[in-house]
Symmetry: C2
Subunit: 99 residues, 2 copies
Amino acid sequence: MAIIDGLNKVFESKIRLGIMSVLVANGSADFATLKSLLELTDGNLASHTRSLEEAGYLRCEKKFVGRKPNTTYIVTESGRNAFAAHIDAMERFLKECRG
Amino acid sequence: MAIIDGLNKVFESKIRLGIMSVLVANGSADFATLKSLLELTDGNLASHTRSLEEAGYLRCEKKFVGRKPNTTYIVTESGRNAFAAHIDAMERFLKECRG
C-alpha cells in the first residue's frame, strides 16, 4: 500500500523516534540524558537502544566517569540515512492523508 | 518529551495507520478490500482490526453475502478524532525534526 510504504518498522515505536531525533540533532547522547528526556525506566531505554543498535542505527561506547559506568550512544551514518528516509515517508503519508 | 507527546501508541503500527487512513477516507471498508490494499494475511488483519475495535476506533458489522460471511469495518467518531489528533502530532514531530 503506497501510502505506508517507506515507513520503517524499526521506527514504529515513539520511544525510538524520540531517541533517534535526539541523536540525529546532537550526534550523541548519554544514557542519563536520554532517560531523563524521554522519561523512561532503565530497562525500557536499554531495550529500545538495543533494538536500534541491532539495526545498525546507533553504536554505544561504555566508559567509567570516576567510579560510575557511563554509556554514550552515537548515531551511525546508516541510522541518519534510515531516519531521514522515515521522516520523508511520514511526510508523504501526511500529504496523502491531508489531500 | 514534547516532540513525541501526542503520538498515539495505538497507531504506532504502520498497518493500523494504513487501515485507519482507508476508513477515514471512505467511512468504511470490508475485510477483503483492506486485506488486498494492505497485502496482509487474514490473521494479521484480524489482529490489527481487533486492537482498533478494542480502542473504540472502529466497529464491525458481520453479515452474509450469498453464502459467504462478510465483515465491514466502520470508523467511529472517536476513531476519526483520535486519528486526526495523531496526524497533528506527526506533523508537530516532523516540524521539530526539520527545524
